[in-house]
Symmetry: C2
Subunit: 699 residues, 2 copies
């Protein structure tokens, strides 16, 4: 009997083979095999439907190129994992992490080198990654290409943005995979730096819907010391092939064993709602590396910011176009009269924040250099420590302390990252000195070191480095124009949020974001982590500020409120001007009430590109909040309130009025109060481009 088993094992290890491994609930079936060339393939089924057909794994290296064939399976190890863990902050207070793990050790016979492929099969999808163990014949190596494939079962519908090494700030296109073409139909002339490798490349998180009814989301988790993954679309065979962000030599990653790649993730469900409820990405990230997390606090904030986007204020203090940070006489410039970040205005914002219970105030344009910060690939732009003459950092700091309002430091780097890194020690000393507790970073422009990209390994390491340095100093980060999240906020909970997508600001000065935009983002960008979308615009038409400005936000006012629930972020901005909020105090009450940290999440209804309805329970009370948004189509929902806990709630409904319409009448809303329990239903109607927000206050 023993002998037989051994023979079976040997056969199993030495020959091509195929065997099924399942998710804990048995809905997913994973199998893998090597072919006659020793190439390694995997496939994934969900309830007997193919999610991924035979798809290759492996690498091309810079030296000894082939690391994808001549593989023999050395051994296979299985493991079951089941754990519940608590979040520091987030959409839910605890998360179940349950999976079957399969570790396949491959030996490349030709080179006597080893590669481990680890699969984790969850009840909501699959994660797979490569481990390069410490070994004699592989110490330092350069990845030329990663060959990971996702061979799909058909010509799925895709919600995609173009692959771009430097930006994710695109509107989404919905098309069949066969119709992916980033040279067509996209309006992205408003994107500042574009680096598109070709027309068939798309970014992740990529949302797909198959004709046989599966919602599939492909992304990555735990992106560390490695470049961003894009997907090249084979439009004939519906195979997605990994394309990594290169450096200037076309090299993808400079690595040293032991090393493991990020996880390649596939979330799958028959229900769109379950995609939004998945925690697979977070589960594939490591627990917090920060031991004491008591200082990390979600925050709702306002800022001196939107005023610049609508043209009322300027970041810059003077009007000049040829300055040098080290030699310009900043104290004696002639002010242009529009500078936003003055001491007086900042104090008024602090007053407003204190009055309405906001945690923090962001001040942009406080520091010298904005006259001439952009577009010249210039290295020494900002010094991060010199305020403009009309911004008294000491006075502002003292005032904010007295009012118990936090200050958010703004570090725009203009993508001159070498400059930022070499000034970082001093910049941190400065901000700690003035009592700032978080930083909004910005990376607008072409990266310096010249030749690097926002999404390359070097920049990925930069972002991690800033997180680690910030953690040491007990500082939180909200990164703009950064790499898009991959669940790393589990490991670095001081990474509160990121932009890394097309935010609300585009509505102020460009063709903007179409009404469907916010019904897609939660299925794409937000799968990786929170986004600082900056919702809450009340004054939706820009001609209010100047008649010639014909741009407008592509939502109704009620939808702007709903976004506080739909677009999860632990650092959530009420982006409009205080004076606009004071024009609509009844609507503003929702922003005052809505929290930024949650206990529970319930996705009531969702379809990417069409609509999303989410209910969330406050982490620090028994109150619930609901947001519903639609695309350019009017919709009605008859919502069961079964998600509420036992007891009575006062529901306040902030809805589109009957004649509201995102384009023609966006600011028309109505507010209604009623008492409800969890056995009630509520009928709501969303206007074209509209939304609805509801607070349920426990009585």
């Amino acid at each position: 009997m023993k002998k037989l088993l051994l023979i079976a094992l040997i056969l199993f290890l030495k020959s091509n083979f195929s065997q099924n491994y399942s998710s804990p609930d048995s809905n997913f079936q994973l199998s893998f095999s090597t072919n006659e060339k020793g190439e390694f393939y995997y496939q994934l089924k969900y309830k007997d439907k193919f999610v991924v057909k035979n798809s290759r794994l492996g690498f091309v290296m810079n030296d000894n190129g082939d690391f994808f064939s001549s593989f023999e399976i050395e051994n296979v190890k299985e493991n079951y994992f089941n754990e519940k863990w608590s979040t520091v902050w987030g959409e839910v207070d605890s998360i179940l992490n349950q999976y079957n793990e399969v570790k396949v050790t491959l030996k490349q016979v030709s080179s006597n080198r080893f590669l481990i492929i680890t699969f984790r099969i969850f009840n909501d999808g699959l994660g797979l990654r490569y481990d390069f163990p410490k070994q004699e014949n592989l110490k330092y190596f350069i990845v030329k290409d990663e060959l990971t494939e996702f061979s799909l079962s058909g010509n799925h519908k895709a919600f995609w943005i173009p692959g771009d090494y430097d930006s994710q700030e695109y509107t989404y296109t919905t098309s069949k995979l066969s119709e992916v073409n980033s040279s067509k139909g996209l309006s992205f002339d408003d994107i500042i730096v574009k680096s598109i490798p070709g027309n068939n490349f798309v970014q992740t998180p990529l949302m797909l819907k198959s004709d046989d009814g599966l919602y599939i989301n492909i992304h990555e988790a735990a992106l560390l010391d490695y470049p961003v993954m894009y997907l090249e679309v084979d439009k004939q065979n519906f195979v997605l092939r990994t394309h990594l962000c290169p450096d200037v030599f076309g090299n993808k990653a400079y690595l040293q064993t032991p090393f493991n790649t990020p996880w390649r993730t596939i979330i799958v469900s028959e229900k769109a709602e379950k995609i939004l409820e998945s925690n697979l990405i977070l589960n594939l990230n490591e627990p917090s590396k920060i031991e004491d997390v008591s200082w990390i606090k979600p925050q709702k904030y306002i800022g001196i910011w939107w005023g610049m986007h609508v043209g009322l204020y300027s970041w810059n203090y003077a009007d000049l176009d040829n300055t040098r940070i080290e030699t310009t006489d900043w104290q004696n410039l002639k002010p242009n009269g529009k500078h936003g970040a003055t001491t007086e205005r900042t104090k008024r914002y602090i007053d407003f924040a204190a009055k309405y219970g906001f945690d923090a105030v962001l001040i942009e344009g406080w520091n010298v250099g904005w006259e001439d910060w952009f577009g010249h690939w210039k290295e020494d732009v900002f010094d991060f420590i010199t305020p403009y003459p009309d911004f008294d950092v000491e006075e502002v700091s003292n005032y904010s302390k007295a009012k118990s309002v936090n200050l958010i430091m703004h570090h725009e780097t203009s993508a001159s990252v070498t400059n930022y890194e070499r000034r970082l020690d001093e910049a941190f000393r400065f901000l700690k000195n003035y009592n700032y507790n978080s930083i909004k970073t910005g990376y607008v422009g072409r990266i310096i070191p010249r030749g690097e990209h926002h999404d390359g390994q070097w920049m990925v390491n930069h972002f991690t480095r800033v997180l680690e340095k910030a953690a040491k100093e007990k500082i939180c980060i909200d990164s703009h124009e950064s790499v898009r999240p991959t669940g790393l906020h589990r490991t670095y909970p001081n990474w509160l949020s990121a932009e890394a997508s097309r935010g609300n600001e585009f509505n102020a000065w460009s063709e903007g974001n179409p009404p469907e935009h916010e019904t897609i983002l939660p299925f794409t960008r937000l799968i990786g982590g929170p986004m600082d979308y900056t919702p809450g615009i009340f004054q939706l038409r820009m001609d209010y500020y100047s008649p010639e400005n014909k741009f407008q936000v592509h939502t109704t006012l009620a939808k702007q409120l709903a976004l506080f629930v739909i677009m999860y972020s632990p650092v959530q901005m009420a982006a409009d001007l205080p004076e606009n909020y004071e024009r609509f105090p009844d609507a503003f009450q929702f922003i005052v009430d809505v929290p930024v940290n949650w206990q529970k999440k319930k996705v009531l209804s969702a379809e990417p590109g069409d609509f999303i309805v989410i209910a969330r329970k406050d982490r620090n009370s028994d109150n619930w909040f609901l947001g519903a948004v639609t695309d350019e189509n009017e919709r009605e929902f008859n919502l069961s309130l079964g998600f509420l806990d036992e007891g009575n709630y006062e529901a306040t409904l902030y809805c589109d009025s009957n004649d509201a319409n995102w384009k023609t009448n966006p600011m028309s809303y109505k507010i209604e109060k009623r008492f409800v329990t969890n056995s009630d239903k509520i009928k709501i109607r969303l206007a074209e481009g509209g939304g609805c927000a509801i607070s349920f206050i426990k009585k």
Copy 2:
């Protein structure tokens, strides 16, 4: 009369023209002209001999490419300058700076942009540079090519090394310009990083000798915010064309007006000795930017260094080939038993330094990371703050303070400059804390940011940045594998010295430096500034350390002594092991006596590639020191001592013994004492590859 003048002036400005401008002593004649295309040319004569024939000036830009034609001369301004200035330290205590300046303002008619060309005509040569004034139509620009030409009058003899973006560590070839070919006859397999753009490129300082008896040296002065200049040799027409070190995009410099380029320099004399006495390069640099220079002190030093080169010791503590700076357990590595920088050895070196009056001790290999520092283009190699377990930095620091010996910090960056810059604040805090007063920096390997070169604008700015930061902290710099000097030690007197050439170390582990090497370096590399050549090797054959090591230093012992006078550096190393010095205490006395800071310099006799004899007067006493070196040929000199001041001197002659020979009998020397005055002559004989050192102690 007035009217006539005006007409003449207009003609002068608007038409092609040629006019002569002279040096103060009238020996040099400069003229310039524009041709029918509006291209600008200059030429230079010395006593009616052409130094430079009609040679173009101008630029190609990245945008609006042509910045070399369509020029009109807008105006010409002349100025005479005459000043004597004092050096902080140096070869002489004061320097005469006397020149006629001609500033030519050019207007590019096609673009309405302006360029100023500034000529300074000295009695020993010419400096010319470009100024881009602040102007409406030129703010930011990228230099694609600088077109500066040096059209020589014939097929001169040249002493050259190959143009290389990353290294100057070559032996020199002596050939006609027409025979320049860096693919032939050079042995440079021992150079670690080579980036040679082509076979016809040479580096500066370039030493030339014309058939009609002129010595010509071409280099640059005040290289700031700009890449290194190489010269492309047109072997048919003997035109040298500027080639700037590119970045990875082929861009040369990212600039902003106002800006001026470095000076392009031509030193000319009928006498080789005068080339070595020229201060033209220093004169073209700006005065010290450091106000308080009282803390800047030249120093003679020893170090834990040569022991590694000869294989006795190792930089690394353990033998490993796959480490990570942040995660390796450095404290518990298994020592290899050869580690050089131990606490005990360092204390012995401090004792030795104290005993013989050395100012400082350099300790290399004190910090973790050396196990695996090289060759992988790895970014996080050193942290600059963590000592090996057998190096007690606190104990060493206290011991050195007690013995009044300075410590020289060693910062090997392995060319990972991003890593160095981001750790620099902490590294400086560390070294200040432990009382180090200078840093030997090292840049071995391929530069990170990947794609940059040692000689590119980005790295030039890095070196300046380190100098400025060091100056703030009162730290001196001795940079190895850095950009070669261009007289910037006038502006940054804390830049004591640099390697940036092929030093003595090559003799320990390679084919080495031929006997002529040190007769060429003062005419080439040292024209730009001091070199840390590390002379003073007494144990000249390496088989002393291990029988299989057949390498040897290509000089006699006496020549090693002479190098302390020939190879000027304010931070001069006695490079051999203390135990070797103690084997030859009589010869070592010269090293003990010789100073490193000088009042006067007299070049008694010199011919590049053949021999050099220099006498120098100590800055702090009335003593003189003389060094004489020869190439592979034996030579005799009958030296007049007229350079000595009035009075009696005890002369100690450290000479090759009669049977000395660099190859077969290098360590044979004789020492002789006699009393002399300035009316005496001394006859000395140098062996093949030999030298002679003489101290003249005032009685």
